[in-house]
């Protein structure tokens, strides 16, 4: 059980860290001037040349690999509801790492989403 808890914690941390790195990188790149295919492709080209993109991708790959490991150990009805905690961890990361402003309304929404995902996906 301790093994599952440790890998679950690593799974959540890897996923959130990957997403946070990706978000940081995309903010550095800046939004596309217009949402047209050409401008979006130019934006993607700039994005893949930033270091943060390549920090985020392996972390997300690790997150996916750890999900596969967890699913091979525990039923999906336990793994997916528990992974809903990533909404809370990700929001904490956004607040303290990316310095986003998370007010009470947003926290309330995040907690409801977390609880809702856990309830909807539990076996």
């Amino acid at each position: 059980m301790i093994r599952t808890v440790v890998v679950m914690a690593l799974f959540i941390l890897a996923g959130c860290a990957g997403e946070l790195a990706m978000t940081y990188g995309m903010k550095k790149v800046g939004e596309p001037e217009r949402l047209r295919p050409r401008q979006v492709l130019q934006f993607v080209w700039r994005a893949v040349r930033t270091g943060w993109f390549w920090v985020g991708i392996p972390l997300m790959a690790l997150n996916f690999y750890l999900l596969m490991v967890l699913l091979s150990w525990q039923p999906i009805s336990l793994v997916i509801p528990a992974s809903a905690l990533s909404y809370v961890v990700g929001t904490l990361g956004a607040k303290y790492v990316l310095h986003e402003e998370v007010n009470a309304l947003r926290w309330g929404g995040v907690c409801l989403v977390c609880l809702g995902v856990a309830i909807a996906t539990a076996g």
Binding site: M22, K27, L35, V40, F43, G93, L105, G109, L112, G116
Partner: protein, 144 residues
């Protein structure tokens, strides 16, 4: 229309596109992998499944949609808060439930309906907040 409203609409449209691409991609990938059959976790089994997936049209269409998911995700995160996009994209759970009930004729237990309702209320709460609370990102042109 104010700048704040335009930003909110642009963000919500992009999140919906992201959810649509992700959901369709996942469903098609599941269908494609079911066509291939259970993957044997041996080097030969993985190799066989890999070659089978390369020649499966459903898997390729799924990959197309999942690339769309990645692009929309990257694009929306270039201007919107992660703490806005991440919970807002949970609306995908409600979309899947709705598609399951209306298109596939599945039935949902009251507990699952309750979970989906909580997700929807949570997304509405998050949707009321500002999509971007950090400093204005640098424009694309200035980075070049």
């Amino acid at each position: 229309m104010g700048r704040e409203s335009r930003l909110r609409i642009k963000t919500l449209v992009m999140v919906l596109a992201m959810v649509a691409c992700g959901t369709v991609g996942d469903l098609l990938l599941k269908r494609g992998m079911m066509q291939i059959g259970a993957v044997q976790l041996t080097p030969a089994g993985i190799s066989t499944a890999f070659h089978a997936s390369l020649t499966n049209y459903t898997v390729w269409i799924a990959i197309f949609f999942l690339i769309g998911f990645m692009l929309t995700n990257m694009t929306v995160l270039s201007w919107a808060d992660y703490s806005f996009v991440m919970p807002a994209s949970a609306i995908g759970y409600a979309v899947i439930a709705f598609v399951g009930v209306t298109v596939l004729g599945e039935t949902l237990t009251p507990r699952r309906w309750f979970g989906v309702a909580l997700i929807c209320v949570g997304v509405i709460f998050v949707g009321q907040t500002k999509p971007r609370t950090t400093e204005m990102a640098a424009s694309a042109e200035s980075v070049q």
